[in-house]
Structures are given as C-alpha cells and as structure tokens.
Symmetry: C3
C-alpha cells in the first residue's frame, strides 16, 4: 500500500515537471512564430506567467478549484486563502495517488496555461502591464472557477450524463482559447496584416525555436494527459500515452494533407500546429479512445486547424501563432469527440459535451471580455503605432533579443 | 507484485518520453550542423518522421518486429495489421516490466530513429517527397524486420553463441547508418563540397542548436539504454546509467584528443559527435561493461569518429552532419566491443557480433539501395542545381527559417 | 521492501537525468547572455565540463566526497582511486534509497556544476586551456573536499548545531560562486565594459537561448532539490517541489519589482536571474520551509540579485552572466535563511550557517586563487586583446557559431 502510494505519487510529481516544461514549449513556440522585434516581450510574458500561475494558485486558485465538499457549490466554492495542510496530507488517506503538496503543484502547473495560450494570440501588439493584470485575474480566478465546475465537483459533473473532460480540452485549452479569441478581437489585427490588397502573411522569425516548442509541448503532454490519470495505473497511463502519441502523429498528417491540398506547399507551421491540434483534440478523451479513434481524432483535428487558421484570417481576427485555432477549435473538437468516439459515445453524452463547451464559452467570453473591454476603455490595451512598428522589445524592455545580428530592412 | 509491476511499467513509460525527446535532439543537431537555407526542410523531415514512425509501427511495425512465437520465423514473421490487445495486457502476465501499450509505445519511439539518422546524411539536397516515401518503407518494414532477427527471436538470437545487442548499436543505429551511407552515396555530394582544389568545409549555421541537440540526445539515451533493461531493476538500470554516462564523457575526450592532434584546434562539432559516438558505442553492451571498459569504449569510439569523418570525406561521401561516422562506424565498433570487453567477451562472441553486423549490413544496403536506386532512376531523388543553390526551404516550403535576419552574401 | 527500494532508486535515477539537463541549461544561459563571437567557446566549455565532472568524479571525486566512516576525517578523507562495488551494492543494504551506481551517478552530475558556474563569470576573455585545467582541479578536488565537510560526515556536520545545507546552496552553488568571483576578479573586466564614461552594458546575443536555459535549470532543479531527499518519500519530495517552485516564482517577482523600481523597464535578464536566485536561495532549506517562507526567501533572493549585479559592476568585477550574484550571493542568502526561517530557525543555527559559509568561502577562495594566480603568472589566463576583440570562436576554435548570418559592424 505504502509502496503503491509512493510510486503513484512519484508519477504525479514527474508528470508535474513535464507539464512545467510545457511553459518553455509555449514560450519557444510563440517566440518562434512571431517577429524578432517582439521576442523579448513574448519571452517576458511567458516567463512571468508561470510565476503568476504558481503564486495565485497557492493564494486562491487551488481553493477555488478544489474547495472540497464542505465549500463546493454548483458554480462557485472557496475554501479560503493560502494552503493549509490537511491531516494525513502525505498519506494515501489524502488520496491514493498523491500527497496534498503533489496535488497542489500538479494542478498549479496547469493553471498558467490559460494565460499562456492567450499570450500567443495577442502577441506583437498588446501592452505588457494590462496583459499581466489580465493574466492575474484569468489564471487566478477564471480558470479555477471553470475547473471547479467539472473537476471540483460542480454542475458539469452532476449533469444527468456528466460532462466528460479527461485532461482539459475544454477546462484548460478552450478556456485559454476563448480568452485568446476575445483578446485578439478586441485588440484588432497587427499593422499591415490585413490591407486592401488582402491578407499578408507575417512569418515567424525562428522556425527552429517554434519546432523546439512543439516537441517540448508534445513531451509535456505525456505528463499533462498521463498525469491526469491521477495515479501510475499501468494500464490506464500506458493507454493514454498511446492515444496521445497517435493523435499527435495523426494531427501532423491531417494538417499536412489539408495544407498541401490548399496551398501546394509543405507548410511546417501547419504541421506543427497540426500536432498540437491532435494533442488538444485527444485530451478530453485520452483515456476513452481506442487506437483507431485516436488516429481519427488527430487526423480531423489536424485538418480542421488549417481550415480554422484560414477562417480566422477571413474574419480578420489576427492570431499570430494560431492559438485560437489550436486551443479553441481543437478543444471544442476534442470535447465533442468524446460523445462521438470511444467508450462514452452516445447522444446524451454528446449533448452534455455541448453544454460544457457552451457554459465554459459563455463564462470565459464574459470574463475576458469585461476585463479587456474595461482596460481598453481606460488604460488602453494596445501599444501605439510607432511602438508596434519599431517593436515592443526596445520600447517596453529597452533591449533586443538578438543585438549582434543585422536584420533585414 | 502489483507494486513492482507498477514501478517497472512507470520506468518504461518515462523512458519512452525520454526516447521521444531524442527526435528533438536529432532535429536540432541536424538543423544546427547544416546551412540556414535548408533549415525548414530538415526540421520538416525530423518532425514528420516520428509521426511516420508511430503510425507505421502501429499499423505493421510492431507485429513485424515482435510477431510472437506463433508467427516468428528465423528471418520474418508477422502477426497481422494493427494493434490487438491480448488477454491480460495490462498485468504482469503480459510482461513483468510493462503493459502491452507500454511495450508498443516504447518500441515505437525507437522505430523512427532509423530514418532520422538517414535524414542527416542526405540533408541539403534530397527531394522531400521521395525521402518521405523512403522513410515509410525503411521505418515501417526494414527496421522491424531487422529488429525481429534479434529482439523478436529470429536467427541472430538463436546462433550457438547468440548475437548480443543490448539496446541497438546494430539493430537501431547501424540500420540508420547503412541507410545513411547508401543515401549519401547515391545522392552524391553537395555542390561545392569537393572541388578540384580539395574538400571545402560547409559549416553548420547554428552551433547552439547543434549543442542543444547533443545534450538532448544524451538525455534521451538514459531512456534508450536504461529503458532497454525492460524493467526498473535498480542494479541493472543504474549500472547502465553509469556505463552510458562514462562512455559519453570519454567519447568527448576521445574526439577532442584526436581532433586536436589532427587539426590543432578545439573543434566543437567533433566533440559533439564524439559524445554521440561514445553513446552509440556503449549501446550494444551497456549492461555488460564495467567502469573501465565503458571509458575505453567511449574513448576509442570518440577518436574513431574523427578518423571516420576524414575517411568519408576522402572517398567523397558527403555526410553533412557526420551521421554515417557516428551511427554506422560507432554502431559497428560498439557491437564488436561486446566481444572484446565486458562480461561476454570471447572469440566466439566476437564472431557472432561480426555475423550480426554483416547480416544487418547486407540487408539494409540492399533494402535502402533498391529503394533509392529505383527512385533515382524514376522520380529522381535530388533537387535540381538551382534549388540546391538557393536552398530547399524557399523551394519546397515557400518560407525561410529566419526571415528577419540578413544573411552573408 | 524490494518494491520501495525500486521506486526510491527509480526516483534517484530520474532526478539524475534532470540534473544532467541542468548542464544544457547552463550552456544555453551562458551562451545566450554573451556575445555571438564567443558562443562556440562557451558551448565548448560547457560541453566538456560535464565530461570532466563525470570522469574525475569516477576517478577521485566520489571517494573524496564520500570516503566512508573508515577513511573520513574532519577535513579530508579518501577511499582510493576509481569505483569499487561494495558488497550488496544493488540492494537496500547499501542504502534504502539507491544502489551504489545510482549514488555515484547522481552525485557525479552535481560535481560539474562547480566549474560550470565559474565558466559564466570568466566568459569572453579566459584562455581555454588554463580554464580546462582549472576545471579539472576545481571539480575533481576542491568540490568533493568541501562536499565531504558536510555530506561526507566532516566537521560542518559535527558542529554542536550542525551546519545545514539540504541540497547545496553553499556546498554546490557558493563553491561555484567563489571560484567565479576569484576568476572574474583576477581576469579583469572585458575590454570596453568599464570606461572613463562609466559602465557600458554588453548585451547578450540570444535572449531566447538564455530563457531556454533558465527554464531547463528550473526543470533540473526538481531533480537537484527533489533528488536530495535521497528517496521518493512522497511527503518530503512533494514538499520540496512546492517550496522550490514557489521560491522560483517569487524570485521572478522579487527581481521584477526591484529592477523595475531601479531601471524603469521590464528587464528580462533580471527576471531570469531572479528565478535562479530564488532557486539557489531555497536550495539550502527546501525541505525545511513552509509555503510562506519559501515565497519570502524567493522574493528577497530575487531582489537581492539585482542589487548584487549593480554592486559587482560598481566594484568593476565583470561577470557577463551574473553568476556571482546568483550563485554566491544567492547561495549565501539561502544558507543563512535556514537559520532565519523554517523548522531549524534559531540563533545557534544561524551561527552554524555563518561558519559553513565562511569556511567554504575561505577554502574556495584560496584554492581557486592559488590556481588562477599561478596560471596568471605563468601560462597566462587571459586571451590577448586582438583575440578578445575579434572573438574567441574564430581564434580558439577556427569557426563561428552562426556563419550564415550578417552581424552588426
């Protein structure tokens, strides 16, 4: 018993470190897919966000998300500020899979993701101060409240057919995705992106960095999904590894095929985002899918992402890194897929999935919308034109990411 | 029992994720050691190959490599398409070290390596489509057939003195190395590499990226070799960690010493490849060697690699990243070293090692040779001169890896 | 029992691989924070140092640091050259947490850190040969002797109130920090850093690389601190994960706040070093601190680092990457903090901490001072002016890190 508890807890701790590394993955991906004049700014945001995530989660987030039966309501619960070690916190009486501290730190690593996803969509034009303020609220309050609805025992978990979201296609990724959509829409597109002559691609400045980011995200996803088993259960975790890997691989091919048919070229950024779409897509049902279903979910997810990128450009929502397509569209797809494929597939499950998607969407859109809108009307959320043109690095950070190298024009 | 099974399986899953990260290592190393005009192309190949590896291994590879006693022949066996969960797949009845899914995913991560190694040697001039086609066949069919000869119970395992290859100096690395040799030889050297005035070094464009790649490969090797124990056995795995680390460290010094004596400069690319040579070299006998033997194997491996690089340049086989030297020469050296050093050293073992090296070599040379040759005579395997000069990125992928930066000339 | 031993040992092995990755973290951070003309040189040092660390630790270091009761004195002990497997080395009779080989390899990964830290402070001007010679002695002899004083049962462990250093704020980080201070002071500042017009900032050439380095170091710290529990004890390791994470996050904010107040800009290099300061600071007492104490230690550590960077510039000790501030100042702070906060806080503990800091400081200053001074007076430790101006890469390594890119002037 003690042995099994030790190995379960060990896995959860290691999964924690893997999820931590996803923040480096996001930082690398977002920096790589944007311009070198804004690189320090992006790295700054993606470095400070995990710090915000950890501190706010310790201060309020954990107790908002997992208030415990005593404090949990259907929509809101709160067990008080700070962390208090419960009796037997380091034994299997707390949980068969982990200690209280492991519970906290594993969940805390997820929290920052919500804002990190937004960071990519608002890149290259958002003001740093307001974005950090937004991140505090979104990570510290919005994310844990939504999380509580499902994982903390709230109303999505008590539907007649409970909403199902294994590791967070909706609860994590679409939360970030909705924030990204609202942020990008309220900010407006980058200068020069959509002109009277149509859409101009603004290429990312460092493809190796973006590729590194995606590999690290994939690596981290083994902890994200594998850790969501909440123990080292050999059958379940290994199944999740297989479904996660195959969906990612199929996502690469889904995006490759669709983007090749549409653009007649081998677009690596589409393949990279296709992998992420496969991963986001499998996340809601990684423990429910078979081999074939995982491949189908990944293939469709990967293809869908290409269409979504084109769609958001069509409606002139400028998302420099494709975050909305990957995390919102991919997250919705993955969540609905639980009702279509796998062990839980049924019409009522599908409707519960729809309810979850919609409820989270409404809440996040309002939450993010109010913050961004109020800031827009007061302090402003967008840097001025001169700063945007010159780059945020030199203006907000007084430095350049690559001072030794000559840039074009 | 259940506890031990859980911890064994946990280690195998974690080792899986470490081997996965080796694909990022290969991508970084190969991109770093080649020119910036071909970087997207290399990253594209190294991103899509793991996807190919996972999908083909699920479709045919796993059942070719481990067909099971019922279907295994001496040279070939096949248990059918796709993955079928056997009875008790998630218990120690399947294997004391892992579940069926863990078995699959750990092995699947190895599979792509065969093509990734080739990718480095054919870089900067191979046509993308034909190379991807080759990768499907080499990873999906050639690699698992060879693997079956030893690890699936085939003829190399039933020699009177069985061929020994702990984690794949021959079965993995030299399979890649032979493909690399054939591919590079049939493609011919890059324009400008060998001229009437002799050999011109074509330096890699990003040494930090290459260094990152080698460190990630070393990191991954703890999973590659450590996972090949196939359980978390404390004595064996920790021994393998030590032999692997010391061989890598000694490989760095072997290459440093020989390259300094030959070139009178501290050549970091040689040191990096020396580390890899030490790692490839110890792989065949990582569980059989003592501390001193590991250091000797690494030292010789590292030195040998410098000579091999010079040799392949002499015979005008252009290998941009040194993949043939590291994986083929290093792989042969490591395989033979099992007959010379360590617990299994004996004359008859040495001959069995030779047989294994030769058998795998003949099969891979024919397999890769036929594919590359047929493609060369039909669709062509090499980009045209204008494209090679301008770079593959802009021609095959319509983009640049670093669009913001000014390049020399 | 066997199961628990297996899981304990597994954690120690995985922690080993995480500490290994810290060497990539150091390499990336140091390369990123210096100029592109010296990048190959820095990567070369940071690649060869782990190799030196592993080999010298096998040859003498391990037996100097952990000589065993039979050979241990108060200040020095030595159990002989090389590694000898003791009876029962792979059972819990050796240690309940790990095998002999795990013990060795985990400790060996720490050893190189001492020289890696120095590497950053002496960057861009130190001669390669002499620095490698220094590294051999500092890693092979100085570090294990100091380590023995505490962890090998020496005099710091037998004080009436024993000196406490959980994972090495003093024993590891300040050892590196003292060497860095002496090296940087004896070398003198880089050309152009301090002129009659005051201090000129010499910006690092690759901020994404530096950021990558810090994330990898943070990741590795889970193994560094978490592994220092010396078993997979669920309560202790998870507590260490939480204290380590919160201190790092708070360190980011400590540095952000102080640097913003002082410089009125969002300085990412300060935030990155603030994270490291938080990590170094928590290292001495990661198992002793509560949530609030961890945050305070990190906050103060992060803020302190900014002041320290300014201070060392004021006294014209040129430390290109801030290594002295992070590892020496941060290490001293963390060590003293054990006497101020947490379970061990007391006046007598504080004085024991002071004794440890001072004893290690005196020994390291003398050890590093003698080596650097003798070399300075004989072979020289600094490259000549032309080489420094042109860059070490082309002069010592005959190559450039980024040959494809045009540099500014």
């Amino acid at each position: 018993m003690q042995d099994l508890f030790t190995v379960n807890n060990l896995w959860m701790m290691i999964a924690t470190t893997m999820v931590f590394l996803m923040h480096l993955g996001f930082a690398s991906l977002e920096a790589g897919l944007t311009r070198s004049k804004n690189t320090v700014n992006i790295l700054f945001k993606n470095t400070i966000i995990p710090a915000i995530g950890l501190l706010t989660y310790a201060f309020v987030g954990f107790n908002l998300m997992y208030p415990g039966a005593e404090y949990a309501g259907s929509f809101f619960g709160f067990a008080g500020f700070g962390l208090t070690l419960p009796e037997g916190w380091d034994t299997s009486n707390y949980n068969a899979g982990y200690t209280y501290f492991t519970d906290f730190i594993f969940q805390a690593m997820f929290a920052a993701t919500a804002a990190t996803i937004v960071s990519g969509a608002v890149a290259e034009r958002v003001k740093l101060g307001p974005f950090i303020f937004f991140s505090f609220l979104y990570v510290g309050i919005c994310y844990p409240i939504v999380g509580m609805w499902k994982w903390g025992g709230g109303f999505l978990n008590t539907l007649e057919t409970p909403f199902y979201d294994f590791a967070g296609s909706t609860i994590v990724h679409s939360v970030g995705g909705w924030g990204a959509l609202i942020g990008a829409a309220l900010l407006g597109p980058r200068i020069g992106k959509y002109t009277s002559r149509g859409m101009t691609a603004i290429p990312g400045h460092n493809i190796p960095l973006a590729t590194l980011g995606v590999f690290l995200l994939w690596f981290g996803w083994f902890g994200f999904n594998g850790g969501s088993v909440l123990s080292a259960d050999p059958g379940l975790v290994s199944k999740v590894f297989v479904t996660t890997s195959l969906a990612a691989a199929a996502g690469a091919f889904g995006a490759l095929i669709v983007s090749y048919l549409m653009f007649k070229t081998y677009d690596i950024t589409m393949v990279l985002n296709g992998i992420l779409a496969g991963l986001v897509g499998i996340t809601a049902g990684a423990d429910q899918m078979g081999v074939n279903s995982s491949i189908i979910i990944g293939l469709i997810g990967g293809g869908l992402i290409v269409l979504a990128v084109v769609f958001f450009d069509k409606i002139k929502v400028d998302d420099p890194v494709g975050a909305i397509s990957v995390h919102l569209v991919g997250g919705i797809w993955g969540t609905l897929a639980v009702g279509i494929f796998g062990d839980l597939a049924s019409v009522s499950q599908f409707f519960s999935q729809l309810i979850g998607v919609a409820a989270v969407g409404v809440f996040c859109v309002i939450f993010a919308g109010v913050i961004f809108f109020v800031m827009k009307k007061t302090v402003g959320i967008r840097v001025d034109e001169a700063e945007e043109t010159e780059g945020l690095d030199i203006n907000e950070h007084s430095m350049r990411a690559y001072p030794d190298f000559a840039t074009k024009d």
